[in-house]
């Protein structure tokens, strides 16, 4: 499977007015998100936490798929490693979860460095298969190492008292997610991010303008893994448990599907995808045992009829409206 050539993620030089609109919308969204726990009931707050974690997981993944054109099938490994970093630090060294979270990007990033060092030697389908194989390898290790990880029983995680109320944990996750997303946004707009776009666009030309493409791909892999680790680190305290299934390849399918549903060409795409994913899961589990089946069908329809994803389609429609208004 090859990734279609895409427009660069950099925004077209927007007018001052459109910049102002964006700032107002973005600022309003953030304020709204912080006010949410004062209007929503507890079960919806848990749903919102789930969404925030999945949004970060999906955006971290899209640095690979959307920006660098790297199709990884093992992204859950770093998500799970983030969860286990928090869990193991808590159980073995009594490190509280909010401190353990600070270690998670480094552990997940370090393992991503080791895996990526091999994986970026190949491209395309071979890269996908290698990341899948390494992901399953890590899953097997976590599953089997009872003394250290608790094996298939999982490892309990207990947040400190002040993080136990849903409202507090929501605000904590919201802050960590927003800071992480801001960092990822900077990366996508940086010279490094532009280089990743270039590699996705034309690998050969990227080499001959002087980019050591493997190093850039490795860099993207490590950064994506580190941020997936942060997402995973927020997941374990939510479920008060780290499970091996967090590293499983079935879990790796989720960021791929979320990114595709929302659209891989835009920064907001995977966030929109995560919202659709979490919401359909919530609605569907009430009626059916197979939420992923429904979401899979949604993704299929989106890929067939809205190749830019939902976010891409919305942006296109907005642009068309604006042009007509002028």
């Amino acid at each position: 499977m090859t990734v279609q050539p895409l427009p660069p993620l950099q925004p077209a030089a927007g007018s001052a007015a459109s910049m102002r609109t964006k700032t107002i919308i973005g600022g309003g969204l953030i304020v709204g998100l912080y006010l949410l726990p004062f209007v929503l009931g507890e079960s919806y707050l848990f749903l919102s936490i789930d969404f925030l974690i999945m949004a970060l997981f999906a955006v971290s993944y899209n640095l690979l798929l959307g920006q660098a054109g790297m199709l990884s099938f093992g992204h859950a490994a770093y998500y799970g490693l983030g969860a286990y970093t928090v869990a193991i630090l808590f159980n073995k060294l009594a490190v509280p979860v909010h401190i353990g979270l600070l270690a998670s990007p480094f552990i997940a990033g370090a393992i991503a460095l080791a895996v990526g060092w091999f994986a970026v030697r190949v491209t395309g389908m071979y890269f996908a298969m290698l990341t899948l194989a390494f992901g399953q390898l890590l899953h097997t290790v976590v599953m089997g190492w009872y003394g250290f990880t608790g094996g298939d029983d999982g490892l309990p995680v207990m947040p400190p008292d002040w993080l136990l109320p849903a409202r507090n944990y929501y605000l904590f996750v919201l802050t960590v997610t927003l800071v992480s997303l801001a960092a990822l946004r900077l990366i996508t707009l940086s010279a490094f991010g532009t280089a990743l776009n270039a590699i996705r666009e034309n690998r050969q030309r990227a080499i001959f303008v002087g980019l050591g493409v493997r190093n850039y791909e490795l860099g993207a892999f490590v950064i994506a893994g580190a941020f997936a680790g942060i997402a995973g680190a927020m997941r374990a305290p939510l479920q008060q448990m780290a499970f091996p299934s967090l590293l499983h390849w079935g879990q790796s399918a989720e960021p791929v599907l979320m990114a595709l549903a929302g659209g891989i060409h835009t920064f907001a795409g995977p966030i929109v995808g995560a919202a659709i994913f979490v919401f359909t899961n919530f609605v569907i589990t009430t009626y059916s045992e197979y939420p992923l089946l429904v979401f899979g069908v949604i993704v299929l329809l989106v890929v067939l009829y809205l190749p830019g994803g939902v976010a891409g389609a919305v942006i296109d429609a907005w642009e068309r409206l604006r042009r007509r208004a002028r």
């Binding site: 660069p8 303008v209 050591g212």
Partner: protein, 260 residues
């Protein structure tokens, strides 16, 4: 200041006894060639003579089976291609290679970012960095007015010129051009030939290029290397090459080219 000297000019690239085998096929067979500073050097020969393979060996896309490549005093046989690009060896491809999903301006901007080491920084914003320099490079190949268009929308000749601007972004010492004027109108050809000549004359940049248009070669090259079936057949000034009987037999003797 250069001292006039009867001895040959120092070579900037030298290829020594290079062979390139693909399985049993010898794409290059014991080829040596030296490129002098500031010279315009053409490689000609029938299809399959090994011209592109030679450019690929010098630019680092291919690692030769045998032999060595030197850049100045440095042996670069095993230096990876992106590092050679940073060292000042730029190239273009027979099938024009640009970033079709970037704007024309962004194509050149990325080349500048890459050449100057900005791309290593994950928090250094791209923004409008090097806008003026990118514009100058585009003006040089006379496509400055197309900066906002997507690379993929350009006509063949404009793409070639964009690729040329990308190659110039790193202030190269050596330009390796694979059929630089193929598919161009005669006006576009003149622009490209003019740039090649001025780079060589004013900035002492060495140009090694392959070309099918024999008139273009004999009008512009200081020296010509004729290749045939992976071997170097003749090397010399246009006059010497023109009068060499072997060249007539093997290459120029083919049908319509006999008038050379």
């Amino acid at each position: 200041m250069t001292v006039p000297s009867p001895s040959p000019a120092p070579s900037i690239v030298s290829v020594t006894s290079v062979s390139m085998h693909f399985g049993g096929f010898r794409a290059l067979d014991d080829v040596s060639i030296d490129l002098q500073r500031g010279e315009i050097h053409a490689i000609i020969g029938p299809n399959g003579a090994g011209k592109s393979t030679l450019l690929n060996v010098i630019s680092g896309l291919l690692r030769p089976t045998r032999g060595d490549v030197h850049y100045g005093d440095q042996r670069i046989t095993h230096v990876p291609p992106h590092r050679r690009a940073r060292m000042g060896i730029a190239r273009s491809f027979q099938i024009t290679s640009i970033f079709t999903g970037f704007t024309v301006h962004q194509n050149v901007q990325l080349a500048l970012l890459a050449q100057r080491g900005d791309c290593r920084h994950p928090f250094r914003l791209t923004g409008e960095r090097y806008r003026d320099e990118a514009h100058e490079l585009l003006a040089r190949v006379q496509i400055a007015g197309m900066g906002a268009r997507m690379g993929g929308e350009l006509a063949a000749g404009d793409r070639k010129r964009l690729e040329f601007a990308i190659a110039l972004a790193g202030n190269p010492q050596v330009l390796l051009l694979d059929e630089p004027t193929a598919g161009m109108s005669s006006a576009e050809r003149e622009i490209v030939v003019g740039i090649i000549r001025s780079l060589s004359a004013e900035r002492q940049i060495s140009v090694l290029f392959t070309e099918h248009d024999i008139d273009m070669v004999f009008d512009n090259a200081h020296r010509i290397t004729v290749m045939h079936q992976g071997r170097r057949l003749v090397q010399g000034t246009p006059a010497a090459v023109r009068s060499d009987p072997r060249v007539r037999d093997v290459y120029l003797g083919e049908g319509d080219d006999a008038h050379v």
